[in-house]
């Protein structure tokens, strides 16, 4: 029975003219699509060059990974199961329907001319084809329904398009919403009209037996027949619908490059080309200077082609927006809006490409721009975030038309709000790399001299003294005074481990307590280590991320010079920020080292039995993953292993591991004034920990965290109930490290006691430096 009658005629009922008309329309649609896509490519060709291939193996691995991610929709499913499943249904539904159409084209338009006998659109193939397309078409419609339901009912914060930096009154985002709905609606229309067409066909043909294998059409047709649809009426309706369906489909094809649908093309590319080092290793300044010698991303012509693709890739899913600590703390930055602003600006300059619904309203930006950040705004003595008008070098006047990005389109206050925590990059399902772009624009701000006052003070101190504390670089090793066993000077003696101490660990009074404990725990574990003393300077990670590339180079060159004088096997550092730049960025400048975080070394020391728990720290603790440890260096296990090894009962906060929440200090934020924030990220984080209930210690493994959270615990009124402790303080307690002075009476128990003991050390130290003649 599976003979050639088990099939359907593709252009059934269509006159020759009609067929010709259809082919003409198809050609036009395809042409528009090709022109649109071509314009995209022309736009990318405007971008600066950027090598995204690197070594071939890595490139291929990236492509493979990207393809897998696209196929499985894994990046979409991650963090949002509902959307992920729905998206997969829509995507695969669409792809299969597209392939189905392609098969028809092959059978109808190619086979008859090349091999008439090979006509295959009948019999078993036809039945299989019918089932597969029906099922996946239904899946697509269900996916669309689920997505529409989500938009209507869930009120997801990430789908809230209101801007954080511009008042709602002057922000018009209706175009964005409309664009989303048109996209979704159009797809739905495509599916529904297809099924209707199928149903009419089945009714018109009086339900041929094999059409039961088009179950959706069959059921629909049966329903129609039940309500009295005759075969003749069905045939008339079918012809009308046929043209409608064709029009919808062809229009969609033509519309793709000009709409949200372009993500179908851009995102696979973006995922395949994304760099595993995005944000971790920032690009060096281009060796060829720009015509006028400016540095950084100053205007759209400074964007690389990949950054232009990034902008097109954004689907406004808002996951970065929801994950961003700047958004959460009320700072004027949303990574989503930043990317969209860039896209709109670029498209405005190549106007034909702009999706109509996302065209910028001048009202919106006309009001936004002049506030900008003139020299005055960013540098007012009031230390404000630059909303007051400025008399800078005509910055505001150039936006929106003129194309000044940093300080113009994207205000300085927005750019300074980024903590470079990388949460946006981690969250983005389509591989957009926000952080390097933000830093690129910060470089331009620095180049224009638009530097936040606190940051400027830090830069100045760093340039002169190599630290941000305004202390003499010579006193960098002073924290070692008073240690029972002196620390080896690695410039004079070979060591196994070179301990790169870092700024906060060397100079901040609170962190110094932890630093001294690190030294003593290493000594207790017989680690052969040394430090560079005053030879060390700030490693430059955050200076680089604040956009001061020249200063970074200065510091890095100095450090590499010092490191080359020392003989060691590996570097260990207490500072995740330092870890990142030493590991990923110093190689750019000729310094390649094996770099460990001290939590890793501690884990290994426990592992090998060099450290042993003598007194279990049997308390409920939680652990905060530092951004630069968990996301940049991807170290999440080691500190937990240490906590488990010392017997702590670790309770995780909701945001942990790679999903950690920023303390707000990264990327140079630690030097800037954050008084203007609604609620500091660090304080939100403390509340998150307190909400777990019964947490005794808030453990962290980053010097900046220690200062930030100590302050935040006080500020939120949890200073007495929650002990903010460095990992090392718990370890020191667990291995029963002797306090240096006898002041502690019975000796300290627990981190609090140890901290007190450390205070004792401080006091003792003060006494020995001759000021304590009380």
């Amino acid at each position: 029975m599976l003979d050639q009658t088990v099939s359907r005629e593709v252009f059934e009922g269509l006159s020759a003219t009609g067929e010709l008309l259809f082919y003409l329309a198809s050609a036009v649609a395809t042409l528009v699509f090709l022109v649109g896509t071509g314009l995209k490519f022309r736009k990318y060709a405007h971008g600066r060059r950027e090598d995204r291939i690197g070594d071939r193996a890595g490139f291929l691995r990236g492509l493979l990974r990207g393809s897998a991610e696209v196929a499985a929709n894994s990046t979409v499913r991650k963090r949002d199961t509902y959307a992920g499943v729905a998206h997969a249904a829509i995507m695969w539904g669409f792809i299969v329907l597209f392939i189905g159409t392609a098969i028809l084209t092959i059978d109808t338009d190619i086979i008859p001319f090349v091999a008439p006998d090979a006509h295959f659109f009948w019999g078993a193939f036809y039945i299989g084809y019918s089932v597969v397309l029906d099922v996946l078409g239904l899946a697509m419609l269900m996916g669309i329904g689920a997505m529409a339901w989500r938009r209507l009912r869930f009120h997801k914060p990430q789908l809230d398009y209101r801007r954080v930096d511009i008042s709602p009154a002057t922000t018009d985002r209706r175009g964005f919403v409309a664009g989303d709905w048109i996209f979704l609606g159009w797809l739905a229309l495509l599916g529904v009209s297809g099924f209707m067409l199928e149903a009419f066909r089945i009714v018109a043909h009086d339900f041929p037996w094999f059409e039961v294998w088009s179950p959706v059409g069959w059921v629909l047709g049966s329903l129609m027949a039940t309500v009295g649809l005759s075969a003749a009426t069905a045939e008339t309706a079918r012809m009308t619908l046929w043209w409608s369906h064709a029009a919808i489909a062809l229009a969609f094809v033509a519309w793709i490059p000009f709409s949200k649908a372009v993500h179908m093309l851009a995102d696979p590319v973006n995922l395949g080309l994304r760099s595993p080092l995005a944000g971790r290793r920032l690009p060096v300044l281009p060796s060829i200077a720009t015509a006028d010698g400016h540095i950084g991303l100053r205007d759209t012509f400074d964007l690389t082609w990949k950054q232009l693709v990034d902008a097109d890739a954004c689907t406004k899913c808002g996951r970065c927006h929801a994950a961003c600590p700047a958004v959460a703390s009320g700072a004027p930055l949303s990574p989503r809006d930043l990317v969209l602003d860039l896209r709109q600006q670029v498209d405005a300059e190549w106007a034909i490409l702009a999706p109509l619904h996302e065209r910028r309203s001048d009202r919106e930006y006309g009001l936004a721009a002049p506030g900008g950040n003139g020299h005055a705004g960013g540098n007012g003595h009031a230390g404000g975030n630059g909303t007051d008008g400025g008399s800078g070098p005509g910055v505001g006047a150039q936006a929106p038309g003129g194309g000044l990005l940093a300080g113009g389109l994207i205000s300085a206050a927005t750019l300074w709000s980024c903590t470079t925590c990388l949460a946006c990059v981690e969250a983005c399902p389509v591989g957009i790399e926000h952080v390097p772009t933000i830093v690129g624009m910060r470089r331009s701000l620095v180049d224009q001299g638009l530097v936040e006052p606190g940051l400027q003070a830090a830069f100045t101190s760093l340039a002169k003294q190599g630290n941000s504390f305004g202390q003499s670089g010579r006193t960098r090793g002073r924290w070692t005074e008073g240690l029972p066993t002196p620390i080896v000077d690695a410039r004079r003696q070979d060591v196994d481990w070179l301990w790169f101490v870092g700024d906060f660990a060397s100079f901040d009074a609170r962190v110094q307590e932890a630093t001294r404990l690190v030294a003593r725990v290493f000594q207790a574990a017989d680690v052969d280590f040394g430090i560079l003393y005053e030879g060390e300077r700030n490693a430059g990670n955050d200076i680089r991320r604040a956009g001061e590339e020249g200063l970074f180079e200065l510091l890095a060159e100095h450090n590499i010079g010092q490191l080359s004088k020392a003989r060691f096997r590996r570097i260990v550092t207490t500072d995740p920020h330092t870890l990142n730049t030493l590991r990923f960025e110093y190689p750019q400048l000729g310094g390649s080292y094996e770099v460990w975080h001290y939590s890793q070394l501690l884990a290994a020391l426990f592992d090998y039995g060099h450290l042993a728990t003598r007194r279990r720290v049997d308390r409920r603790v939680t652990y905060h993953d530092p951004c630069y440890l968990a996301r940049y260096a991807e170290v999440t296990r080691a500190p937990r292993e240490v906590l488990v090894a010392i017997g702590a009962r670790l309770v995780e906060m909701p945001r942990n591991g790679a999903n950690t929440f920023c303390c707000g200090a990264g990327g140079g934020r630690v030097w800037m004034d954050d008084s203007g924030l609604a609620e500091r990220p660090s304080e939100q984080r403390i509340r998150e920990a307190v909400a777990l209930g019964g947490i005794v210690d808030f453990v962290t493994a980053c010097p900046k965290d220690l200062t930030m959270y100590t302050a935040a615990a006080k500020a939120t009124g949890n200073g007495d109930s929650l002990v903010v402790a460095d990992l090392i303080e718990l370890v020191a307690a667990a291995i029963d490290l002797e306090p240096i002075t006898a002041e502690g009476g019975d000796g300290p128990t627990g981190a609090a006691g140890l901290a007190a003991a450390a205070h004792g050390e401080m006091a003792a130290l003060t006494a020995t430096t001759g000021r304590g003649d009380a």
Binding site: A382, G383, A509, S675
Partner: protein, 320 residues
């Protein structure tokens, strides 16, 4: 050539300012040693009421002219140069204030007399002045002599007791004229600071904070402490510059001079300009993380600690 000690009188709005009295007191003591006279030089318009407060001087040289109704650096300079040239005193004492700085260096350049700036001590050794100067924001003291035994010193306010120079009386007045004036700098107006909510010069307890406070928000903690102590908050120059508190709360050379019963200095390192404004307090307690901060040299009690920790602990302690 003489062994006289000249003191430039600084006055504003009809009143001789405190630094002048400090200098007069010191000049009188020095003149007693040299055998010369302590001579006050006053430039003004209608100087008699001023002269009446200069009883500590052995003699007054006055230039009385409407051109000197208000301070003008160029006019002062034009009038002073011939006086100093003619009298050739052993020592000219000028307060290290804005007008003092204006006048003293120019005088030195014009007359060839050496100048010792930022003096905190002036003494005589073998009849020649020996001056102790502050350098490097108070981190270094230098003892200097003038190469030819005579010169000018600009003296930091607060170096000598004001009382020693405050004496009523009517010293002989030598009136000079016609005054040499230079109109290249013209006085336009005196702008008073906006009235503040708190008059820190009247408070008996001041909790004063400097850069060490870190962020503006932390001022709240300091306010709490001030309230607990029944006093007010004052600040050092950088915080007033930053606009965190009005100028009327600023203590120091360019701010206000205060003499509370308690001056609790939190996170203030103690630049000379600041010390000028508060060293007269009855009790000074300083908290700073830097054990080498100069503030500890004027404080009665000191603690090396984080000011926020201490402020919170003290607030708690005072609360109960």
């Amino acid at each position: 050539m003489s062994d006289d000690i000249l003191v430039l009188v600084e006055h504003r709005a009809g009143t001789v300012l405190d630094p002048t009295f400090e200098l007069l007191g010191r000049a009188r003591a020095l003149a007693a040693e040299t055998g010369g006279q302590a001579i006050a030089v006053v430039l003004g318009s209608g100087v008699d009421p001023l002269v009446a407060t200069l009883g500590a001087a052995d003699r007054v040289i006055a230039v009385d002219d409407p051109a000197f109704a208000e301070f003008s650096p160029s006019s002062y300079q034009a009038a002073l140069v011939p006086i100093v040239r003619d009298r050739s005193p052993r020592l000219v004492l000028v307060a290290n204030t804005g007008p003092g700085m204006d006048v003293a260096s120019g005088l030195s350049a014009a007359t060839g007399l050496a100048l010792a700036a930022y003096a905190t001590g002036v003494a005589l050794e073998g009849g020649a002045p020996v001056v102790t100067c502050q350098l490097y924001a108070g981190k270094i003291d230098a003892r200097v002599r003038f190469a030819d035994g005579r010169g000018i010193a600009t003296v930091v306010a607060g170096s000598f007791p004001v009382e020693s120079g405050m004496a009523a009386g009517s010293p002989p007045v030598e009136r000079l004229g016609p005054p040499a004036t230079d109109g290249r700098i013209r006085f336009k107006a005196l702008l008073a600071p906006e009235a503040g909510d708190v008059d820190i010069t009247r408070e008996t307890v001041l909790v004063s904070v400097g850069r060490g406070v870190g962020e503006q928000e932390n001022l709240e903690l300091v306010e709490e402490l001030a309230t607990a102590l029944g006093g007010a908050v004052s600040v050092s120059r950088p915080l007033a510059d930053a606009g965190w508190l009005p100028r009327s709360r600023q203590v120091g050379k360019s701010g206000l001079k205060v003499k509370p019963r308690l001056y609790l200095a939190l996170g203030i390192s103690g630049a000379p300009e600041h010390l000028e404004g508060m060293r007269g307090a009855d009790l000074i307690i300083a908290v700073n993380t830097d054990p080498r901060a100069p503030i500890f040299s004027v404080a009665h009690y000191g603690a090396v600690a984080d000011l926020l920790d201490v402020a919170q602990a003290l607030t708690r302690r005072l609360a109960g």
